[in-house]
């Protein structure tokens, strides 16, 4: 007898889904709702807001910088390709080529009024140790040397070459971050370097937009494709945060498409093969679609936007949410009534949902923005899928399929007899206990861990190896390691900067350069001291200037009056006043935040962090920042914390199961525990245990517990086994794809879930075989 359809509930449900879809569309129209800066998924290292802002600003400075290397077998060939790159960048608008000449000109002009008070350590030492006669002789000799043909300041402005020496010291800061020891020549005015027989021309550029903005990434990706076509992929190297972010976004999109498509195809294939009808398939697809829409809407509502890794992870949700659809379709087909199937499955479906949502909800308590996002996405997605099954199941009427369910024969012929054989005589429980103990021992004994920040890489191997090649060719400042100075006043900051640089440079680390604010702007105390010394040794009556003029047989007063400028304190504002942008971008990040001054000292070259920390130990105003180490520490800390959270979550759920099922809770929980331990042991052994393996255990828990709950309520029967097999198979297929992902995070998820779900599918029926009657 055909049951009357009730449309009210399905319509209400569909209206809610439609509203969610509309909300997403409106939000997406107003602003980008997806982003891919993976470090924003992690909790911040504990530090003051001002320090966090300072570090963010330092990171922002480097995030805008780009480097291109265009290669050729000859300089002419490289130059020709450079011209193509230059033309393409001019047309692009997002990326602007930088000319170091702008900065040189800006520096020459900005420092001119103050050259008599700016002294490098070497110049200071010479002035202190030499007599006026010796200083005059040195200036004279310099005048006759061939090199004196090129001076930034005319002789009349700078007879003793003080300005030249000062600017020389800035050269390292003006090479676009390229180390002084890197051999750079120019060809046709463009810097180049040789790598074996290949010449590489360098182009420094600056990004106009934000590197983590997806629209900017899309434009830059397009530019890169164009450049690779123009000059040939093998002749172009590039470096910059935006390339990694774009590659990460690309990869995430591919993974989402791959996993999403794989999930979809596996669902379609299995549904058609097993049910041999489009109705159950339609129900399954509707379940998945509604679940994803509601999950996405919830994330956008709560967080404003969704990370691409969350979406990639969410694509795996499909493998979990499909459980409900499969169970419903199989049960309805068997009973012959959607309405009754809904009634029978209401409790186990609700319990399965509650256990999964409970497990995911624990993630909300962890201070991990990424984890919270994934938790919301997964929990809301599951609730949406569950509601879809109950609300829409009656519309699709899977019970009206007349054909035989495929797979049932397999259960009766092979699996059930095997399970019964193993279960009889209590062999299975003993076997399971042995496996449990062995798995636990394995986990404890073989627990190599991996908290390396490289696990967060989303940009793929190719880009990483290009980055390493560029780093080898030309050592660049480390954006992950630097020193932050802080002080109550700018003068104290500059004094601190001078002290830090002196202390660090006395270590004698070759091939390491430190660029600090005091290298560009000495403290007031230093400027005054320098000026006094210059007056004393160079410009006072009877000193070096008089002796130099005598040697040159010229009147001294005109030269003295032009070269000997009155003292005027060079402040930061004065330095940047006229030549603002060019110098501002070159200066180390220096900022007043909440009435306190902060500045970054960048480190160019490989350094021993312990030596740096040791030298800075007695300077409380200096803090050594190592972002990589901090992120690794965060991963380490939260791997343990999430592990404990997970144990707590599992324990709470287990206690709830005990309260509900009493002694029957053990066969429900035991296979789950075994699957989790085995997955953990394999992950640790194969990849080294990471935070993301621990995250994935929650997913395993959700999928595996569902199976136990359904077997417990329905028994080990053909339809329950078939539904569990279908849902487990789709999950395993999807996560098997993830195992081959280039994104370490997704790869780690894939491994744990594949092993965990596979183990659960095989082992869970064993715990219910003995008490189940033959189907």
């Amino acid at each position: 007898m055909t049951e009357p359809r009730s449309w009210r509930l399905p319509l209400i449900y569909l209206a809610i889904v439609a509203a969610a879809l509309l909300y997403i569309a409106v939000q997406a129209n107003q602003r980008p709702i997806a982003y891919n800066n993976i470090t924003q998924l992690l909790p911040e290292y504990h530090r003051s807001p001002a320090m966090a802002q300072m570090i963010a600003m330092s990171a922002d400075r480097f995030e805008q910088e780009l480097l291109f290397l265009v290669g050729g077998d000859t300089l002419d060939q490289a130059n020709e390709r450079y011209m193509m790159l230059q033309a393409a960048l001019s047309a692009n608008g997002q990326v602007r080529l930088q000319d170091s000449g702008d900065l040189t000109a800006a520096a020459i002009a900005a420092y001119k009024p103050y050259i008599n008070q700016l002294l490098r350590q070497e110049t200071l030492a010479q002035l202190q140790s030499r007599t006026p006669a010796q200083l005059s002789d040195a200036a004279m000799a310099e005048l006759f040397s061939l090199g004196s043909a090129i001076r930034p300041y005319a002789f009349s402005d700078d007879p003793f070459g003080l300005g030249s020496s000062w600017l020389q010291g800035l050269a390292k800061g003006m090479q676009g971050g390229v180390q002084e020891s890197v051999q750079l020549d120019t060809y046709q005015g463009i810097p180049y370097m040789l790598e074996g027989d290949k010449a590489w021309m360098l182009a420094s550029a600056r990004l106009a937009g934000e590197p983590f903005n997806l629209a900017t990434q899309a434009l830059v990706s397009g530019l890169l494709t164009e450049l690779q076509l123009l000059v040939g992929q093998e002749n172009l190297l590039y470096s910059g945060i935006v390339f990694h972010a774009a590659a990460g976004a690309d990869l995430a999109r591919k993974e989402i498409s791959t996993v999403g498509l794989a999930s979809l195809l596996s669902v379609i294939a299995l549904a058609l093969v097993v049910f041999r009808s489009a109705r159950p398939l339609a129900l399954l697809l509707a379940t998945l679609t509604c679940g994803v829409i509601l999950a996405l809407a919830a994330c956008v509502l709560l967080f404003g936007r969704v990370h691409l890794v969350t979406l990639a992870f969410g694509a795996t949700l499909l493998g979990v949410a499909i459980d409900y659809g499969f169970h419903f379709a199989v049960k309805a087909r068997r009973i012959g009534s959607s309405h009754q199937a809904g009634r029978v499955l209401r409790a186990p479906l609700a319990l399965a949902l509650a256990s999964s949502v409970c497990a995911y909800s624990f993630q909300l308590l962890a201070p991990f923005p990424g984890l919270q996002q994934m938790a919301v996405f997964s929990a809301v997605g599951l609730i949406g899928a569950w509601a879809a099954v109950l609300c829409l199941g009656g519309v699709f009427r899977p019970e009206q399929i007349k054909s035989q369910l495929r797979g049932a024969a397999l259960f009766h012929r092979f699996f059930f007899p095997a399970y019964r054989r193993l279960a009889i005589g209590g062999q299975a429980p003993k076997l399971i206990c042995v496996l449990l103990v062995a798995a636990t021992a394995l986990v404890i004994a073989l627990l190599p861990v991996d908290d390396d920040v490289k696990n967060l890489n989303t940009s793929g191997r190719e880009l990483l190896s290009m980055e390493e090649r560029i780093t080898q060719l030309m050592s660049r400042p480390s954006i992950g390691r630097f020193v932050v100075l802080q002080a109550d006043s700018l003068e104290q900051l500059l004094l601190s900067s001078e002290a830090v640089v002196t202390r660090l440079e006395r270590q004698g680390m070759t091939d390491v350069q430190f660029d600090a604010i005091s290298s560009w702007l000495p403290s007031k105390a230093s400027q005054e001291r320098n000026y006094e010394l210059v007056q004393q040794k160079l410009f006072s009556a009877g000193t070096a200037i008089d002796q130099l003029c005598a040697q040159l047989k010229t009147q001294c007063e005109p030269l003295r009056s032009q070269a000997n400028r009155p003292y005027s304190y060079m402040s930061l504002d004065k330095l940047l006043a006229q030549q603002g942008l060019a110098l501002a971008l070159a200066l180390p990040v220096t900022k007043n935040i909440d009435s306190r001054w902060y500045s970054a000292v960048t480190i160019n070259g490989q350094v021993d962090a312990e030596i740096i920390k040791q030298e800075l130990a007695t300077i409380p105003s200096a803090v050594y920042i190592d972002r990589e180490a901090e992120i690794s520490a965060i991963l380490h800390h939260y791997r343990k914390a999430i592990g404990l959270w997970s144990v707590l979550a599992f324990s709470v759920v287990f206690l709830a199961l005990l309260a509900l099922f009493r002694a029957n809770a053990i066969p429900v929980a035991a296979p789950v525990l075994l699957s989790l331990l085995l997955a953990l042991a394999c992950a640790s052994w194969l990849q080294g245990l990471t935070l993301f393996h621990v995250f994935a255990l929650l997913l395993v828990f959700g999928i595996c517990l569902d199976a136990g709950i359904f077997y417990n309520s329905q028994g080990l029967q053909e339809d329950t086994w078939l539904a569990v097999t279908l849902s487990n198979l789709t999950s395993m297929l999807v996560f098997a794809f993830l195992c081959f992902s280039q994104v370490p995070v997704l790869q780690q998820f894939g491994l744990v879930v594949l092993i965990g779900v596979g183990c659960s599918w095989l082992v869970t029926p064993l715990f219910f075989a003995e008490r189940s009657k033959s189907a």
């Binding site: 300089l75 000319d99 170091s100 000449g101 702008d102 040189t104 000109a105 020459i108 002789d137 004279m140 000799a141 005048l143 006759f144 040397s145 061939l146 090199g147 004196s148 043909a149 090129i150 001076r151 930034p152 300041y153 005319a154 002789f155 009349s156 030249s164 020389q168 050269a171 090479q175 002084e180 051999q183 750079l184 020549d185 120019t186 060809y187 046709q188 005015g189 463009i190 040789l194 040159l552 047989k553 010229t554 005109p558 030269l559 032009q562």
Partner: protein, 185 residues
């Protein structure tokens, strides 16, 4: 009409210029050894008289240049020919500093390394192989901030270099060749 003739003249003279340039470069490159005296006059705007210095120089193909200032002060500058194509290294100074640029230019002039010169300047040739002039105009702001113009004169061998600085000062180097040997290839 006049403009048309001028344009035609310029257009026609370009290939001739390029030929002269490569001939001059080839001529210089065939020099195996060169030694002689030099007189350097540095004209500094604020000084009434030029600064005059004298000395001797020696160039050996493949090895480098020794530039020895003898009066009024003694200084020796040794420019070694670098590996891989004659890039010059100046002892005691960073290679990529502006103060090393003139030394590298000098070596390029002695060795006829047109490519090295073209790394910093656009090079134009005038005259003929027995009496030529090269005009070097800086490329890029990095060099043009310091150097306005460089001219190199010569006949069978190098004879004079003038450097006009952007700040108005200038340097004139006159060379008289005492000994030279040229290869036939």
């Amino acid at each position: 009409m006049k403009a048309g003739w001028l344009l035609a003249f310029c257009w026609l003279s370009l290939p001739a210029q390029a030929d002269l340039l490569s001939e001059v470069a080839g001529q210089i490159q065939r020099t195996e050894y060169l030694s002689g005296q030099f007189q350097q006059e540095k004209h500094i705007q604020v000084l009434p008289l030029p600064l005059v210095s004298t000395g001797v120089f020696q160039y050996q193909r493949g090895e480098g240049v020794v530039w020895e200032l003898q009066t009024p002060t003694r200084q020796t500058l040794t420019i070694d020919a670098g590996r891989g194509g004659g890039r010059a290294a100046v002892k005691g100074k960073p290679r990529d500093s502006m103060t090393g640029l003139v030394e590298r230019l000098l070596f390029s002039v002695f060795s006829g390394d047109l490519a090295a010169l073209q790394g910093y300047f656009s090079v134009a040739a005038k005259g003929q192989t027995s009496d030529w002039e090269l005009q070097l105009t800086p490329l890029g702001q990095t060099v043009s901030q310091f150097i306005g113009d460089v001219r190199i004169y010569g006949g069978r061998h190098l004879s004079k270099v003038t450097i006009m600085e952007a700040n108005g000062d200038s340097t004139v180097i006159d060379m008289s060749i005492a000994k030279a040997s040229v290869s036939n290839d």
